[in-house]
Symmetry: C2
Subunit: 341 residues, 2 copies
């Protein structure tokens, strides 16, 4: 186990001062080109890497960007999050930054974690998902002037960059598809109230139902898990003939499939389902799940890019305002949204 090699080691070895070595490594014009080369050669030979903590302390920057994972992050977390972590880390590493991940146990814990990140100096920038109306995390970050990018809209869009998926459109898409063969008994399964994407979904869906002259849909706001979807659907199936379900996420749609199977009913003849986010496997259900999708890879890439640019600008507002991107979901019409025998 070798001893750590720091600037000191190099400096002593070369008979130089640490400050000169430091500058040499950063190609500072103040040090003679010849010296620079010597230093750099030795540095590579010793495989020198500047200590992150010292750098962070001195520079007042942690050198890290944090991603806040929102609960529930279980088995059915959107696949996009891993993609995001991966993409983001690759971009960050190119500019010498690292990725930190924080996972809140529940919603109440989130703001506390953000406060901790700020106060302990754990990150120079954050990515937040699952934005809410009147989001406490956002307020805190705005108040302390820490750069951040949201995945989803907030009430303060003119004060920070964001990337957003148009869930209102997703809601419209779902209703439009279901309306092909259903005009009543439409049930919307969305995530808890206050979550912007879930609210938007409901809003879009309800509006579209009105436009198409359908009966008012029933709305259930539930946790985004297969189990919650199943029990919500079970209740409906027990009391309603030929319901149609619009689900904000495939996890809920999977729950509907489970409920149907348990009740001895079949998707197609007895009920229809429209999902969301095109989870792996949704293509292979019986019948194949109609859903909407976004290109996970490119959303992750976009979010990363926005973060990088925001960081580069030091979190400052560009002359023409912060970046905002709205991504349109695309409809994947398979079979599950159609009543048929």
């Amino acid at each position: 186990m070798r001893k750590r090699v720091g600037l000191k080691t190099l400096a002593e070895e070369l008979g130089l001062d640490v400050s000169t070595v430091s500058r040499a490594l950063r190609d500072d014009p103040r040090v003679k080109p010849a010296t620079r080369r010597t230093v750099q050669t030795l540095a590579t030979r010793y495989d020198y890497r500047p200590n992150a903590a010292a750098r962070a302390l001195r520079g007042g920057k942690s050198g890290r960007v944090a991603v806040l994972l929102s609960p529930p992050q279980q088995r059915f977390a959107s696949p996009i999050f891993l993609e995001l972590l991966s993409t983001l880390d690759q971009h960050l590493r190119e500019i010498g930054l690292n990725l930190a991940v924080f996972a809140a146990r529940d919603r109440d814990e989130e703001a506390g974690i953000v406060r901790q990140i700020i106060d302990e100096g754990l990150a120079d920038g954050l990515v937040l998902g699952r934005t809410r109306k009147d989001d406490a995390r956002v307020k805190l970050l705005l108040d302390r002037g820490v750069p951040f990018v949201t995945f989803g809209t907030t009430d303060w869009t003119d004060l920070h960059p964001s990337v957003e998926i148009d869930y209102a459109e997703a809601g419209r898409l779902a209703i439009r598809a279901l309306a092909e063969t259903a005009s009543r008994n439409i049930h919307i399964l969305s995530a808890p109230e206050g979550l912007n994407f879930a609210d938007n979904y409901v809003r879009g869906a309800v509006a579209e139902a009105a436009v198409l002259g359908l009966a008012d849909p029933h709305i259930q706001r539930i946790e985004m898990t297969e189990d919650a979807g199943k029990s919500a659907a079970s209740g409906v199936l027990a009391s309603t003939r030929q319901p149609a379900f619009a689900c904000v996420q495939d996890s809920l749609a999977f729950g509907v499939f489970r409920a149907a199977a348990d009740a001895g009913l079949r998707v197609g003849p007895d009920l229809t389902v429209f999902g969301g986010q095109n989870f792996p496997g949704s293509e292979h259900t019986a019948p194949p799940l109609s859903t909407f999708s976004t290109e996970d890879a490119s959303v992750a890439e976009l979010l990363s890019q926005v973060m990088m640019r925001h960081l580069e600008a030091g979190g400052a507002r560009p002359p023409d305002g912060f970046e905002h991107h709205e991504i349109k979901p695309t409809q994947l019409l398979r079979q599950s949204h159609i009543f048929q025998s």
Copy 2:
């Protein structure tokens, strides 16, 4: 945007020295109980949090644990990774540590990242998945004496803790299930050679085929993506009647479903499939995908616990050796493994 509050601020406010304040906050018996209380009260009032970088620098510990995400981490990454990140972070935070995530672009990059983590002092401990024969990352960590836990076995199991899923058993399970209705034309789809879990899977499957007196299975080592599974299966389907596929992961099985659909064949009458890892959605395929599963939540929990204990021991070998856990997969017999019309 308030000024950062540090020990200095508190000390001045109270007319004490920073060292006393520091000790007071850590409940050091050297400072008078009364003073301790005063200090602590003020600290909470000011919402003081010790600066992470300073702490790291002084203490020579980064205060972080890193998880290395191995490529390919795309859409079909095992759902367990998010679960792991979440669980691990929650445990770590309880003892004041944080979670860092590193995602390599490709296999070659991995060792470099590990080296960087060590040399820059980016983490005090690591979790590695996708272990390989003669794993360069493991060698490096062993050499530098950095604590780590592997998810999967290595060639040096007596030198570090590990948690492992018994993939040989998974292979056996798959063959045994498929053998109910297939005795020949068995195709094993596993991940690239050198990855221990994939090797073990093949070994277990081949051995079980021999035990059952089946014809030698065909083996294909491919990337663990739906696309790779699809094209591998397409080739087989074009030339073989009634093949049976044993897939190391559901992503590959999904690929087989896709290939079947494209070829106008149906799982059940024309081919059978056995998957792995019970991805979300695999329950709802047509026919439902037979697969094996492990309790993601408890595996994540176990891995976290092992890491915590290892860290607590300072990475030292306990008197009775490092912890090793082997998790048995459980078979989920649904429909896809049975030939039937």
